[in-house]
Amino acid sequence: MIRTAATILRKDLRIELRTRESVPAMALFTVTVYVLFHFGLDRDSLDGELASGVLWVTLLLATVIGVSRLFATEREQGGIDALLLAPVDRTALFLAKAAALFLYLLALEVVAVPAFGLLLLGPDLVDTLPELPAILLLADVGLASVGALVAALAIETRARELIVPLLLLPLLVPLLIGAASATEPLLRGDQAAEGLGRFLALLAAYDAVFVLIAVAVFDFLLDD
């Protein structure tokens, strides 16, 4: 199963490397949204709750783009039938798609977080983020598993572009609460990281529940 998943993942990554469709679009989108926030809030630099909220809401919106493109190549070129005809375990398919989305998100954050620091954070806050990678990693697991589940749920619907954000964003509210609240003290500058463990635990619990649910129900999606 792991081997099958790795093969599908390799295929997806190769397509992404050659077409450069999802990740650059997501990165461009986040930078644009930062510019929008700059003008919308009329602030040159942010800190605390506002900074953490802007960072995470932007990442969540970029995830919507990644999720709605997750099965795009298969759908547009008909590869999905071949994939489903092949004796491939659906769990392997889920793992591959979630892993692909996870890697896209990591690649996105490599661009988006420094861009955020550069464009919107005050100069003294930029290098005060030692815990941020842990929060990002935990959040990405949740984003990737919920994202892959939602992408599969929406694939058979007629109004896919509508269903994905409407379904994904409310599902991500607990993740946003955990991630934004964990990041907020880091961006306040006074380094009092109170309650960090609690929100990391919330993120980890969210990840565990949704990975398990997705693995359990994925068998019933994407058949025939």
């Binding site: 409310p170 919330l202 649910i213 129900v217 019933f220």
Partner: protein, 228 residues
């Protein structure tokens, strides 16, 4: 098929609702500092409990559907979620009225239960566009059940998360519906919850029966057209 025991159930629902209303208006005392408006509590909170119960029950019926492959379980899950969404709209409206009367604002963000409820309700509203944009009936049932399961599991997680976020800014020791109700209020509350539950189950059975009947009618009509 769905109408077994419908008559006694509906009589019980009518009796319980009548008793609950009588208790609310004539038996339960007026709240010391909120006065008469506090009585909306006996509608608002049971409605919220029953709606959440309906969402979770819809998820469990979704599991039964995927386990057994019997589409009638998807129909049960659909009707439970459908009724819960309607009740949910009632919860949000009564919650807003209560908030306006006792805090002076139509919406307050530091009430974690109401905020969580809004998130859950927004998620479940997507059930309709998801369900009705899938044409193949078998697939529609399967995808709807998957949604019902994922959303049903989401309900408790979301409540914990919103409460954590609120506890972080506004420490709260006891929920106001917990243990501290005086006897008369508690009795009224319990009877109201029972009445709301019976009402929900009755409406659920009614809707299932009517859906079943109209489906059978459609089938018969199709057969008639085929022979004519």
């Amino acid at each position: 098929m769905y109408s077994k025991g419908f008559r006694p159930l509906s009589i019980a629902a009518v009796l319980a609702t009548g008793t609950a209303l009588a208790l609310i208006f004539f038996y339960a005392p007026n709240d010391a500092d909120q006065g008469f408006i506090q009585k909306i509590f006996y509608v608002h909170v049971p409605m919220a409990i029953v709606a959440l119960g309906g969402f979770v029950a819809g998820g469990i019926m979704g599991i039964r559907h995927l386990r057994t492959g019997d589409r009638s379980w998807d129909m049960r899950s659909y009707v439970a979620i459908h009724l819960s969404i309607i009740l949910g709209a009632g919860v949000l409206i009564t919650g807003a009225i209560w908030a306006k009367a006792s805090w002076g604002h139509w919406w307050v963000w530091d009430e974690p239960v109401l905020v969580s409820f809004l998130v859950v309700w927004l998620l479940y509203c997507v059930y309709y566009p998801l369900r009705y944009s899938i044409e193949d009936p078998d697939r529609q049932a399967r995808y709807s059940s998957v949604f019902a399961i994922a959303a049903g599991a989401f309900v408790p997680i979301n409540f914990v998360a919103v409460r954590l976020a609120e506890a972080y800014t506004h420490p709260r020791v006891l929920s106001q519906t917990g243990g501290s109700l005086p006897g008369e209020m508690r009795l009224t509350f319990l009877v109201s919850t029972l009445a709301m539950t019976l009402l929900f189950v009755t409406l659920w059975k009614l809707e299932l029966t009517s859906k079943h009947a109209s489906m059978q009618l459609k089938r018969l009509r199709r057969r008639l057209e085929a022979t004519a």
